[in-house]
Amino acid sequence: MNAALNVRDYGCAKVRRRLDSYLAGELSVDLSHEILEHLDRCPGCRAELAARENLRTVVRRVASAVPEPREGFEAEVRARLARTPAPSTGAVTSLLLAASLVAAAGAGTLFLLSRTAGSPTTNMAAARDAKAFLFAALNHKGCTLRFDMWSKAPSVSAAEIGPKLDAELKAAAVQAADRLPGYEAVTAHECSHGGERIFHIIYRRSGSTSKDDLVSVVATRPGSTLASGVKLAGLVSGGHRDGLSVVGTSAEDGRLVLLVTSGTDDEAMRLGTSVLPALATAFVAR
């Protein structure tokens, strides 16, 4: 059974060293692409990937099989804390918070912002949402590094986009290709995240060859762990990372569809309104 899984060459050894980070979704988009390409042609590494994924599933199941806390235990701890004086806080905490925000902004760290209070289409993103938004931003950055190659490629019509995609994704790409006013679809392909395939369309502003004028639409597959627990009701503004704005929505089948742009929040929301609901519907319709 295991003979077929033996490491075949240096490529296999290199890939296997990175398989766990790949499964954890911690590799850069470029490295994930390399792993995916190798997996496509190497049944041994595909089998090893499946075996490691299975092991992680069993670890999760085994380690999660612990009982809930005893009834009354939380109340006991609460009572103990109620008898303990409150810690000092106030101005120092505010200063620390302000300092941390300044430091975070300087480092380009992702932090979440709620949009205009009272807007019916926005809310404060939760931690799991943040992971999805962060992934979309990183995916956009990783893929658009190859823009030089794309800028030389001729524009493609909606019908020509995503030639390597399967029928469902191809149909969704065709539906989405002409949806962004002032933009043209450059390519549609699949990327990877944690061993899952992600659907990615890249648009550029018509006539522009600047990376800053690229827009990504990223969609998860059904059952994606990235989408697990994330509920984006309506269009939700995500966060900012390195000057990127992200908005997202959920399809009825749970898939997430996210848009990333270098533009302002308002621009992101305007573009998202143009394409995301239609794309979410396109997935559910199939």
């Binding site: 804390l81 810690p87 905490t93």
Partner: protein
């Protein structure tokens, strides 16, 4: 009139409200994580209780709006590590760096058919720090960056330690699965009287 006025009641209420909102929602998870670490309910309750007491006492230093869950895990890690150090020396145990490097370079394939009890035994057989980082990554689903914050180590250390932990776990699982298989074969060959 005293120069040292007591803190206004509303300030105390506010910090308790903040703690209710930020920390208490994670109480059950922290208690269960403590049980995963200790495997003994009484010890887990003691550990979780200590974590929340320390969290409360140092809540003034917690930056509101940041990741309270990761902050609580960091306290859990610290308290558990302090207690572990009192019991046994904190070392890599049998899994030396050189041996692991060799293991990583020429690793056998991961078994495809594994039983829960084999994995459970393997988790108990690897070193506590390997188990801890595996749980943080695969069960608690923290990112490498969050784990680096919790353990207060560079992200590169997280990656290398996780890699060694996973290799060690796979090695133990292979050993357990092989032993089970041999025992099964022997029992089958023995037949019935």
């Amino acid at each position: 009139m005293s120069l040292f006025r007591p803190r206004p009641v509303d300030a105390d209420s506010r910090i308790r409200e903040d703690f209710d909102r930020e920390a208490w929602p994670h109480f059950r998870e922290i208690t269960r994580a403590a049980l995963r670490l200790t495997r003994r309910p009484a010890e887990a309750e003691d550990l979780a209780s200590e974590v929340f007491l320390q969290a409360w006492k140092s809540f003034g230093k917690f930056e509101r709006g940041t990741n309270c869950r990761a902050w609580l895990y960091r306290i859990l890690w610290n308290v558990n590590q302090q207690r572990s150090r009192k019991k046994v020396p904190f070392t890599l145990g049998a899994e030396g760096e050189a041996q692991l490097a060799e293991t990583l370079a020429a690793e056998e394939p991961t078994p495809t058919e594994i039983k829960d009890e084999e994995v459970s035994a393997a988790l108990d057989a690897i070193s506590p720090e390997h188990k801890q980082i595996l749980l943080l990554s695969d069960v608690d689903e923290f990112t490498y960056k969050e784990i680096a914050t919790i353990l207060r180590v560079p992200i590169g250390t997280v990656m290398s330690r996780l890699s060694r932990a996973r290799a060690a776990l796979r090695e133990k699982v292979r050993g357990t699965a092989a032993a089970t298989s041999i025992a099964g074969s022997a029992a089958a060959q023995g037949g019935t009287p």
